[in-house]
């Protein structure tokens, strides 16, 4: 049984069909990278999974149970998300950013939450920033705190929404490293990403989206090695053309 199953979901924003007939299964421990041009529905798909957007049609099942909008809070304890713009709480210290969900949503005692915060910060190599305020950190550090915040909730699935897209090139590496490590540790992850090197190296499945549909899907080697559609081939060319550094990383 897959951990997450999307069955024929669709989503419309007024006149724009953002998602159409999207079906996808994600097994426990699987790393799925969603790629595609901007506007192809990647982020919308991710946001539908944890209920930030309501689907217009189709069903989403998590852990064998249909996702009920009324059980959204329960679901969000199981599914974490990391955003492109970090979305840390600027008025709270790094530690409190991480413990807030644990104490206020899960009812964990603060001392235990603080221990856990330290543990997840160690995982992203930021234990020394535990008392800092987010805006005092670099973008890469903020994003790693955001990952730690999601991990602290001990989710069964983590969604990553273009989490390196807002970062300067030299800061991307440190975040990718954390992702590689999580993938190795068997975390179930669904990522929207432009980091083809990471996708190729760490993803089990690549999903190429185009015009709100899943256009191609498969293992990285076959998908990148021999794109079946002209759309994917031209997308890969376009990505490599704009960023020679990515070409090196993909290699």
């Amino acid at each position: 049984m897959p951990l997450l199953a999307l069955r024929s979901i669709s989503k419309r924003f007024s006149s724009h069909q953002a998602l159409e007939d999207v079906s996808l299964e994600v097994d426990a421990g699987e790393v799925v990278a969603i790629i595609g041009r901007s506007g192809s529905g990647k982020s919308t798909l991710l946001r539908c999974i944890n209920g930030l957007e309501k689907v217009d049609g189709g069903t989403i099942e998590f852990d064998g149970k249909p996702c009920d909008p009324r059980r959204l809070r329960e679901l969000r304890r199981e599914i974490g998300i990391v955003f492109q713009s970090y979305n840390l709480f600027p008025h709270l210290s790094v530690e409190r950013n991480i413990t807030l969900g644990l104490t206020a949503a899960k009812g964990m005692p603060i001392a235990e939450a603080q221990r856990l915060a330290r543990k997840v910060l160690r995982m992203v190599d930021l234990e020394d920033k535990i008392a800092a305020y987010p805006l005092r950190l670099s973008g890469g550090q903020q994003q790693r705190v955001a990952i730690a915040r999601a991990l602290a909730m001990e989710p069964h699935l983590v969604l990553f929404d273009e989490i390196t897209a807002a970062l300067d090139a030299e800061l991307i590496g440190e975040v990718i490293q954390v992702l590689d490590k999580l993938a190795r540790d068997g975390m179930t992850m669904v990522l929207v990403t432009h980091e083809m090197g990471f996708a190729r190296r760490s993803a089990d499945t690549i999903v190429f989206m185009h015009q709100g549909r899943i256009w191609e899907k498969g293992a990285p080697a076959s998908l990148f090695g021999a794109p079946a559609t002209a759309e994917l081939a031209s997308f890969i060319d376009a990505i490599l053309a704009v960023d020679p550094a990515r070409r090196r990383r993909i290699g």
Binding site: N50, L52, N87, H91, K106
Partner: protein, 223 residues
């Protein structure tokens, strides 16, 4: 010929200051409770609640505070068929008035918090009240410091209107001293100076507080 304006008269003015302060603080405290309520209703998902809160704000922002004072003062008397002291009537009127303005200021501050902050809080499985309490309101409070203090300064000055229904605060005390000394050009500038001494430190305090919070959190201003 009236009395001269001497130490006695000056002390009389000073003694009225606590009433001005008490009225302002009381109205601010009461108004803060009403205002928070109004601000949250104004951002609530229910259209009915939003409409009620909007109506409240429109009425109190769209009518002169003096009329609100009269209506409360005489209204209480007519409604309960009792003679109302000036103090509770004045306090109630200024509380309702403050509630409308603070409510509107705070609504703006709440809505100025970017949507992704709500989403991030929701994605940590926080309930709506907890999203508000832990994530949105503290950030809204920071940006609402300057307009809130600005309103507090306005309010201190507006309480002078209470003099009209005979409540003895700073302005009323000034009127009384003018009546006994016939020296309006001595009394009123002094009264004005006393208001300034009450209000100015507040503005200074707000600026310092804002700077200090921004420095702690690492918030950079663009200008």
């Amino acid at each position: 010929m009236g009395r001269t304006f001497g130490t006695q008269e000056f002390l009389y003015l000073l003694k009225a200051i606590p009433w001005t302060l008490l009225l302002s603080l009381g109205a601010l405290a009461g108004g803060a409770i009403v205002g928070l309520f109004i601000a949250i209703l104004r951002t609530a998902p229910s259209r009915l609640l939003r409409g009620l809160a909007t109506g409240y704000i429109e009425i109190f922002q769209g009518t002169p505070v003096l009329m609100q004072l009269f209506v409360t003062y005489y209204g209480l008397a007519v409604l309960f068929n009792i003679r109302v002291d000036a103090w509770p009537a004045v306090l109630l009127a200024f509380t309702l008035y403050s509630g409308a303005f603070l409510g509107e200021i705070w609504r703006g501050s709440i809505q100025a918090i970017p949507r992704p902050q709500w989403e991030a809080a929701a994605c940590l499985s926080l309930s709506f009240p907890k999203q508000l309490w832990y994530v949105i309101l503290p950030q809204a409070a920071r940006i609402s410091i300057p307009p809130t203090v600005g309103f507090a300064v306005q309010l201190i000055k507006s309480t002078s209107i209470a003099a009209i229904i005979g409540f003895v605060e700073l302005t009323r005390a000034g009127q009384l001293m003018t009546n006994t000394t016939f020296k309006p050009m001595i009394v009123y500038p002094i009264v004005a100076a006393l208001y300034f001494i009450l209000c100015w430190p507040l503005s200074l305090l707000a600026r310092t507080l804002e700077r200090r919070i921004d420095a702690t959190l690492g918030i950079k201003k663009h200008f």
